[in-house]
Amino acid sequence: METQELARNKSFEVEQREWKLRQRKERGKQLLTIVSPLFLLVLWEVMSRTGILDIRFFPPPSTIVQTFYDMVVSGVMAKHVGVSLYRIFIGFLAGVIPGIIVGLLMGLYSPIRHFVQPIVMALMPIPTLALLPIIIILFGIGDLSKVVTIAGSVFFPVVINTAAGVLNIDKIYLDVASNYQTSRWNFFFKIALPGALPVMLEGIQMGQAIALLTIVAAEMMGATSGIGYLIWTSYKAFLLPEMYVGLILISFFGYLFSLILRALQNKLLPWR
């Protein structure tokens, strides 16, 4: 009897130890994720300070941070970032909203799909940036041309994913809707829209990344402000720490927007 008790305690202990070990491994993995970018930065710092990397092309991160600080203090930063964020935001919305509307129409009505699809397919491979000269002629060198460029780039992934999202809704839900006499209005808001939402949000996530890629390039040509302008003019003046500040800003905003959209996704899709 006693020995049995003992054996049970023993096996319980073993299990607990194993559990702790697993926990420790999990924490170890999390640590690795945090450490990896820091490791890269430290490596960079050491290599450019010791001259393994050419300091003219790869200024050490500490210098970049100092430059960043100076730019924030002088107010240069706020101006460029503000302008770019404004353009991204408006351009993003101007691409996403029509993208969703056209995508839903394409998904819901097959004549529209058959008419619009070839046009979308033909226009999609043309980089909006290649059209930038024309866009600048038409819309000037102000905010509008940047907004149009971003909108044009964001539109395509959103339209394609939204249409695919509607088309991929399981047929059985359409049967359920029809069997329970769902009106057109209810069908749209209770079946088509929520059913298409997961794939649609993936498209919007893609659009967000494209918006950032586009803004930098759009501001390099025919612009007088913005993060892209900052990168381009710093590069031309060989002010590389300033250029890196611009690049790091883009990377930061890309990460931030992804996090925001992920959170939105979790909020909008509690049923997934």
């Binding site: 399981d170 059985i172 839900y173 049967d175 359920v176 809707a177 029809s178 069997n179 329970y180 006499q181 769902t182 009106s183 209810n186 209770k190 079946i191 929520p194 059913g195 939402l197 899709l269 509690p270 049923w271 997934r272």
Partner: protein
């Protein structure tokens, strides 16, 4: 067969058109189902039983022939379908799923809530009302589908192999639950299954279907007294004979379709 006819199907034919020509899925189907009767359609896969049900559900149009579902009041929907497990809508909560038919008909809110509560309770889903279907087991999902159809209070219920994807124990439990709800509401039910046992337990009458083209080949009356339990049906030697009779018919049909 006593009682007024509730469903009348008259000379129904359905053909599907494909590249290689047309396929006749249903040929000259005529049947009546009496008010309050529970009828099972049993047949090999591909015999057109689902097509027949879909026509009655208004999801498909017959090529030739017609059917009527008798209705006394006009504020009741003619039919509601209990779909297979996948038919529970994943982005609606259990409660919203059960209320779906009522909401689509724009009924007063208080009425919808009362009716939804009643059927959530009846199917034992109260505790799960605010969950999404992904958090439910297969059996629970199927209860949602059943509650949704009953809550809609249609003239007749159509069921498309609702327990096909469940494991055996769960299937037994849900079959008995279904019978108890049905006994209270006295709905007319047309139920598709390929399980002979299921048909014997549930039906007042079994219609056996043959394949290619789909037609009704045999009618079998099940007069085991209700309320029934699985055990009653299993113990009854007459039911064992009927099981074998049905099995012989189906075997023949399956053989024929292979040739």
């Amino acid at each position: 067969m006593e009682g007024k006819p509730k469903i009348t199907v008259d000379g129904l034919m359905k053909a599907f058109y494909k590249k290689q020509g047309s396929v006749i899925a249903l040929e000259d189907i005529s049947l009546t189902v009496a008010e309050g009767e529970f009828v099972c359609l049993v047949g090999p896969s591909g015999c057109g039983k689902t097509t027949l049900l879909r026509i009655l559900a208004g999801l498909e149009q017959p090529s030739v022939g017609s059917f009527t579902i008798a209705s006394e009041t006009n504020n009741r929907p003619l039919q509601s379908m209990v779909f297979q497990e996948r038919g529970v809508i994943p982005w609606l909560t259990v409660r919203e799923n059960v209320a779906f038919g009522l909401k689509m008909r724009n009924l007063p809110k208080a009425f919808i809530n009362e009716r939804t509560d009643f059927y959530l309770k009846k199917t034992g889903l109260e505790r799960f009302a605010s969950l999404y279907p992904k958090e439910l087991s297969g059996g629970m999902k199927q209860r949602v589908s059943i509650a949704r159809a009953f809550a809609n209070d249609p003239e007749i219920l159509l069921m498309d192999e609702p327990f096909g994807a469940l494991d055996e124990q769960n299937r037994f439990i849900l079959q008995e639950e279904l019978l108890s709800i049905w006994a209270e509401t006295k709905k007319t039910v047309l139920f598709i299954t390929h399980s002979i046992d299921e048909a014997l337990l549930l039906s007042d009458r079994i219609l056996l279907m043959g394949a290619q083209p789909g037609k009704i080949i045999e009618e079998i009356i099940i007069d085991v007294p209700r309320p029934r339990k699985m055990e009653d049906v299993r113990k009854d030697p007459e039911m064992a004979t009927k099981f074998i009779e049905i099995w012989r018919h189906l075997q023949e049909e399956v053989q024929k379709s292979r040739e």
